[in-house]
Amino acid sequence: MVEAFAVASGKGGTGKTTSTLALGMALAEEYDVTVVDADMGMANLLFHAGLADVETTLHDVLVEGGASVDAAVYRRHGMRVVPCGTSLGDFAAADPTRLREVVATLAADTDVILLDSAATLSSRAAVLPIVLADRVVVVLEPTIPALSDGLKVQEYASSYDTGTAGILFNKVRDGDAIDRIAPKAERYFEGPTLASVPASDAVRAARRAGQPLLAYAPESTAAAAYRQAASELSVRDRDSGTVADRFRSAVVPESP
């Protein structure tokens, strides 16, 4: 079985990468999880996962005649992690549409694929993870632009037959009236509110330490909220071969 989720928001700064790794680690308690940094133009997952110094990244796999997918897979924190490099030159040389083949290959050997997506909908490379995923997890903050951009992500997703697994409110502070905002937001999103993650100093400290939140501060309230979100996320039992075929047959042109 395998299901691919794009962790997306449409707006920067909502904590997508922190959320991707936290959901990944929480889901890894039960499933075989692979996390891919699909934010190919502004990659940062490697810094969060202690992989800043690795030799081979997704960029190397996405170039013509490049490395095999396996060479860019690292076992960390109970998951398989595929980081992406940060060089703009490498991004320019990479062919993002090859991501389809990468995800198809990974799908053969995992239960859950989490694609950390770009904070924009303005380019083909940015939207591609949403096209490839089965469902999106929309990361929101309780602000008007975050909700507005989250709604746009959902509309893009449904236009490409990608469903919405749920919404995740992040960086929530006391006085945000999240108990009133979340039910109102749910009226417009197809999925439930998976969790409301409180703003936390532990998140910044984990990032500085180069560790995922659930490894750095597993007892924090934010970590508990992510575990709650993971338990709310129902992973569908899908046949790996079918999913791989879906990725391979996704209608994506080969040339930019």
Binding site: P145, A146, S148, L151, S159, Y160, D176, A177, Y188
Partner: protein, 186 residues
């Protein structure tokens, strides 16, 4: 709402309300901004948004189309950009009568936090707000006796605007799918 005449200090088109807040804060402006949507998302969404400032800090919000004041007026301004912005400075005290309308007031950091989604700008703004401005609590807290609707809630209550945002995104997704060669979509 009767606004005093002011000296025009800036007139331009802005895509994001954040620009207005940063500009007013950096100038320490006492005055007001008038934001008029250009090529609005909603065809019948006419009217202008007014936001007043005291030394760079937002005080009162009002929307001439919906005739709503306070946090809901911030929601009325949302997602209607780009806007034609006119920013006016006034002499000290000229806005006192306007600022006395408690129901039109917004908490100092709300526009930056909720409308612009910029928490650090909101923190900077709150730091500059006089300590006796306690509206932050009265508008954000349900325990304040008179439960006010926050800007985010007012935004989510505006089903027509949300549907317009969704429709526009769907149209954009279809258009770009064609442009990017994502195949038959929609």
């Amino acid at each position: 709402m009767k606004l005093p005449d002011g000296r025009l200090v800036r007139s331009r088109v802005v895509s994001d309300p954040r620009t207005v807040l940063v500009d007013a804060l950096d100038r320490g402006l006492t005055g007001y901004a008038v934001l008029e949507p250009q090529g609005s998302l909603l065809l019948d969404d006419d009217g202008r948004g007014v936001l007043t400032f005291a030394e760079g800090v937002p005080v009162v919000a009002y929307h001439t189309g919906t005739e709503r004041g306070g946090p809901p007026a911030l929601a009325d301004l949302a997602a209607s950009g780009p806007y034609r912005l006119n920013l006016y400075a006034v002499r000290p005290g000229a806005l006192d009568a306007v600022h006395d309308r408690a129901s039109f007031r917004v908490p100092p950091g709300m526009a930056a936090d909720r409308l612009a989604g910029d928490q650090s700008l909101a923190d900077r703004t709150r730091e500059l707000a006089p300590e006796d401005w306690t509206t932050e609590r009265t508008h954000d807290s349900a325990s304040s006796g008179e439960r006010s609707v926050g800007a985010v809630e007012a935004f989510l209550d505006d089903e027509r605007k949300i549907e317009a945002i969704r429709e526009e995104a769907r149209a954009e997704a279809r258009e770009r799918a064609e442009e990017w060669g994502f195949g038959d979509v929609g």
